[in-house]
Symmetry: C2
Subunit: 343 residues, 2 copies
């Protein structure tokens, strides 16, 4: 094992009520864990930062709540540095959930081997959970068809930008919703969105209507709240709402009311609102990775990443992400692979 | 043509804001219409009263809004008394939308011929739109499986009681929600519901939990509002909410907020909420009628009807229906068939 003999970690120090702050985290330095009983020692290369990280603090979701005092959870790309207990080769690159720390000892069964294609970071963005979420949400839940109008919120975000690009490639008209005119310019000029709307604009409702002259067939919702309420009113008969996230509510202290259109418009316009978690489609990830990789190689799908350096940057990077500071997939580069340098 | 030479009609006299009253209707007597250009003269035998009648007054839904001054709309079973213009035999029984009047001249293409099986009234209840709604909602939208728990609201209503019985026949555990202990006794003692809950009880939430120890897999929602909000919290992963109606909101003057669980729980529990209108399945009605008729003949599906006599009863019958006064399918017997008596 090369590198430090200690393991820098960030704990969730206090449970946040409302707005998450950097001060909710605390850095500690522990010994590197010793893998036991089938465990594999992994070194974190890239740490993914996701709005869902904040939701995990709020309560039990599709996984256990993150409790104060625990190492902060997070998806990672890691390198196996000692795989003997798990029968895994050292040097293998794996996707796992090592959390906010330099090293983790994880059961071999919790690791997903990565066949690296192109830049390693792509396996946390378009070829990772983000890309899988966009792919299965849009095609399996949204069932988009050519000529339809697709609206996606948090459109400049990690998932949203891929949703929009994939919908465009699938022959749909794509309208992105974000909270910044600068982001919207990138979406239109660089990613081929047909239209964009700024939900912070006073003319949001009017602009949304203007951008969707034929109504909305598929709404890929990452945010909930007022944007969901507004887009629902523009849905066409038999429209589909892909319920992927609710980032506008992850820091709410109360229980926000649902959109007034539910369930009245769901009945009269025969809408389908459906939620999903990307792991529901785990058996088909390899298929999606192959297709997305092909689109990246062909230059049809652009990869937008927002990489911060060093584990120490993680708290600020997550807090800023929840304020909408990112364009594309935000992650932290924790360490470089030793592959080829160590022996 | 036997009977009166005049046509008694009820108009929607004023648009209701909030609670519908009998005084919103006005009776007028007009000449019997003369069928022209493909029209068929129909005499109303049974008039269906449905919560949706009230929704139609609120605004444009899947059909035009009912405007003040127009004959009140309603589904009917009618007898063709002069079908020459439309090439239809006199005496034929048809389902149509003649509205609240004794006679109507309707395009032949708007009539659906009824092959009468058993009591004629069944073709407005279990073999009519009500039964079709229950059948396609439960099986096509709800996709109920044996062993699952199904909750249905307005469970003693025209659609609800059929939903519950069909779910029981399909091997599910069925819990009915109504606003009356008397109704609930009928559901359990006579219709085979496994459990019932009174949403007016102070212990509603607790009773709902007790009645659904394994959670809820399918919720057939006829009412929206607080019952929907409460059942959503008990939904299992991959649960389905069949959005059929929103009767608790049809007399609202504002825009009621949606359930707080939307979209948060939809994501984390991967729920599907989906609306439908029974006419979406029009091509398959004959299949459903044959199956439902077989279940009625076998005594497995009980037909519960609530028939008032005379067109003059229609305003009170609808107002009372919206207060939850009915058990089973409410309709008005407007006239007896002349079949076999006239010649």
């Amino acid at each position: 094992v090369t590198g430090a003999l200690t393991n820098a970690q960030f704990l969730l120090d206090r449970h946040p009520d409302g707005t998450l702050l950097e001060s909710h985290f605390r850095k500690v330095v522990s010994p590197i864990p010793i893998p036991r009983g089938g465990q594999v020692l992994c070194r974190t290369l890239f740490l993914s930062l996701d709005p869902a990280n904040r939701a995990w603090m709020q309560g039990r979701t599709y996984r256990d709540q993150i409790r104060a005092g625990e190492v902060m959870s997070g998806f990672t790309l890691s390198e196996v540095v000692d795989g003997r207990q798990g029968g895994i080769s050292s040097g293998m690159i794996v996707a796992c959930e090592a959390g906010w720390q330099e090293y983790a000892a994880l059961p071999a069964s919790d690791l997903r081997k990565i066949e690296v294609r192109g830049a390693l970071s792509h396996h946390l963005s378009v070829l990772g959970i983000t890309g899988m979420t966009a792919y299965f949400g849009l095609f399996e839940i949204g069932r988009v068809c050519p000529g339809e109008t697709v609206v996606v919120s948090a459109a400049a975000g990690a998932t949203g930008n891929v949703v929009g690009q994939l919908a465009r490639i699938a022959g749909a008209r794509v309208v992105g919703v974000s909270g910044s005119d600068d982001k919207n310019r990138i979406l239109e000029d660089e990613l081929g969105f047909h239209g964009t709307v700024n939900y912070r604009s006073e003319r949001f409702l009017e602009q949304l209507k203007d951008c969707c002259p034929d109504g909305v067939d598929v709404y890929f919702d990452n945010v909930a709240g007022e944007v969901l309420a507004a887009v629902l009113l523009r849905m066409n008969t038999y429209g589909r709402v892909v319920c992927c996230g609710a980032v506008s509510q992850y820091e709410s202290t109360g229980r926000p009311a649902g959109p007034p259109a539910v369930p009245g418009l769901i009945v009269t316009r025969r809408l389908r609102m459906e939620g999903f978690i990307v792991t529901d489609f785990r058996q088909r990830w390899e298929e999606a990775i192959a297709r997305l990789s092909g689109l990246v190689d062909d230059g049809r799908l652009r990869v937008i990443e927002d990489i911060w350096d060093g584990l120490d940057a993680a708290p600020a990077a997550l807090v800023d992400l929840l304020r909408g500071g990112n364009v594309g997939k935000r992650m932290v580069r924790v360490a470089d692979s030793t592959e080829g340098t160590a022996s």
